[in-house]
Amino acid sequence: MVAEIGFGALIVAFVVSIYGILAGLYGARRHAEPWLESGRRAMLLTWPLITLSVVCLVALLVGGHYEVQYVYNVSSRFMPLYLRITALWGGQAGSLVFWSWLMAAFAAAATLRKWDRDREFLPWVIVVTLVTLAFFLGLVIFVENPFVRFWQMPDGRQAVAMFAPRGATPLVPMDGRGLNPLLRHPGMILHPPMLYLGFVSFVIPYAFGVAALVTGRTDDRWIRITRRWTLVAWLFLSLGLILGSRWAYDVLGWGGYWGWDPVEIAAFMPWLSGTAFLHSVMIQEKRGLFKRWNMILIILTYALVIFGTFLTRSGVLSSVHAFAQSAIGPLFFGFIAFTFIGSMGLLLYRWNDLRSEGVMTSLLSREALFLLNNLLFMGILVVCFWGVIYPLISEIFTGQKVTVGPSYYERSTAPLFAALLLLMGIAPLSAWGHSTLKTLGRALWKPLIASIVVVIGLWVGGIRAWSALLAFWLVALVSLVTLYEYYRAVVARHRRTGENYLRALWNLAGRNRRRYGGYIIHLGVVLMALGIIGIELFQTETQGTVQPGGSLRLGDYTMLFQRLDVFDTQDGRNVARAVVSVFKNDRYVGELHPRRDFFYDSQQTMTIPGVRSTMEDDFYVILVDWQSSAQGITFKIYHNPLVNWLWVGGLVFILGTLVAAWPDREAESPRARAAQTLAVQGA
């Protein structure tokens, strides 16, 4: 019964979505306010309907209803309650329902905003949002239904269907196969929801962009409305990427945090175009420039969101043949083509209306540097996109797949990332409208000299590799420029208002959260860069086989293998856990327990490293093999300098995004006050 209710709610939500689209279109065409209002309410209604469906699916998961195929595939009796709940997004069908649910939540939130001032956008926001939602609901209902059940046919065969075939009886397995062990980590529990939230929330700015194109409203209103939506989308996408990296570091057992896997890149690409968009919209807001480019960026970001979901859900990454055979792949492909071509067609239709309103007078102005920043982001995006799809192109044209591995991405993107860091150091000092070498030099010379002093210090300290020195110089430059900007502003405010420095800093950030939140984000990026530099340029590793009492040495560290314990756990695992002592410069610093967990239900293995973590470095031990070698146990150990700055930087980055997205204390009041002022003047 629960499965029927869940499935029924999905169907009703799908019908309501279709109705909302038609009501929105009709309302826009006839200027019929009741139809528009009806469309708006339809959009609002989708969320409770899909919520009901989600509740049903969670109830089936928690209740252990293994007659439901999805429940059987992603859960088992051994799994604790929280994992049974998070199994909602542990498989394809459930994750599509979850995607739709989040999408509907954002759609509902969009309906609840005040529409008085931008009523002309409403029908098109309804249409675009509900077309996207209806597409995903259609996939769930017709292709990937999570509520289908096992049935025993009269002739002894087993069948999978939503409703009982004629003469069939329900087939209830005793237990499920369990969630993929890799998905049982806290990072992986939170990572998909964050990514999905990032994905779905980008649909709203896109919907407003399309609405602006359809209505011919070529001013920056759509950008101002969606600024916070975009920041929220970006926040979630960033959180998803950071959590995914942490999960990879903790669980995948290869000593790294980012493997340039196509699935990772699928999430990274909309982040790249979204970041370019976040910078580029400021040019339109401040200077009235590049309206077309902003439209292209939001269309591209939306297309990449769908493309990312397509990449991970269609099977296309394993083979073009798997894609061709899957039902979901061609549907996704068609939807991407439809939305992308449609949006670009609209953009071309409005091309002449979207001319820039001003001119760019200086190559060193903030807008010029932001444009350069956009070029670099697009450069990285092209590298990523091409690296992901080239194996498919090769398979189509040569019949042979190839691997495009990390070395390609690292070599191609490293100079672009370095140039982005350099811009991050310069752009905050340039002015909107006009900057010269002289004005820029005057603002830059102090942090520049300080950053060079830092590099000289590092060189004296023994670092000789030019790549490391360059990278550290960039990090120092951006940090110092950002801190110097804070310092100058705080001192100026202190002089002007007499506030103490701390209050001046607080009020400064409160008055212009976007700017100072942005600076915090920049500081987060440089801290993350520090971690990346550490692991990319200074990581060392070794592997060896040792008997109990034997040791392995790496740099200043020595690992002494004590013993291996093999035991079963109550939650259905067989654990092989090594106990190793760690010494740094021959001084005991702790005990680690690298282990391998074998999950009986899913017949899969998971590697959990033992990590000694400090802000200086990580000593990371993996149990490679404990069975096949008669000579002892094989360990792989990594020394990862500075890696924890990556996570600290991630936290600072998120904090900065929250500050930037937080409503400005004075953001609403200027509008009201300006209106009041004008009203008074008019009177």
Binding site: D219, G358, L372, V402
Partner: protein
């Protein structure tokens, strides 16, 4: 990050040299070592090659860290070939001949595969040219409005002077003027 640069390779060779010296010293003193028992060639030598290779089954997992039995056998094969005196290139050629180009971390630089390496820089160059063109046109073009600090809305829905004045006032306040 799973990939390593040349620098890291140099690092591992350094350790290798120190490791060999250590073994010689300890062996010479006839002291039984309790350190790692390194087969010849060592795991590190094998991993240095395996790191840049992929088996056709375990997609996107480098051979040096892939936990499957099949990949362990590949690593043993690399060890065997190294012991026979094969070079890294000979070993890679052997695997390519057996399993195809996909065992390599990057497509070989020939034929269609050149596109992998050429297209991104060409696209970037095209982007630079577009940008240069934009800068040129922008600097030549006359502004739609007289002042760079003010904007006039082109849309017909924004012809209302009150709305324009309101927006202008808002912009000034947002700029802190």
């Amino acid at each position: 990050m799973s990939g390593i640069g040349l620098r890291k390779l140099r690092f591992s060779w350094q350790y290798l040299v120190w490791g060999v010296l250590l073994v010689l010293m300890v062996g010479g003193a006839m002291v039984q070592s309790v350190r790692a028992q390194q087969p010849t060639p060592s795991d590190d030598e094998v991993n240095a090659i395996a790191k840049t290779m992929y088996c056709p089954v375990c997609e996107n997992v480098p051979l040096d860290v892939c936990p499957t039995q099949a990949c362990a056998q590949w690593r043993e094969l690399i060890r065997q070939k190294l012991a026979e005196g094969w070079t890294e290139q000979q070993i890679k050629d052997y695997f390519v001949a057996q399993y195809g180009d996909r065992v390599l971390g990057e497509p070989p630089r020939r034929g269609l595969h050149w596109l992998v390496y050429v297209l991104p820089p060409l696209s970037f160059l095209a982007g630079v040219l577009i940008l240069v063109n934009v800068f040129r046109n922008m600097r030549r073009a006359k502004p739609v409005i007289a002042s760079p600090d003010s904007k006039v809305k082109a849309s017909s829905s924004w012809d209302d002077p009150y709305a324009q004045q309101l927006e202008e006032e808002l912009r000034r306040r947002e700029r802190g003027e």
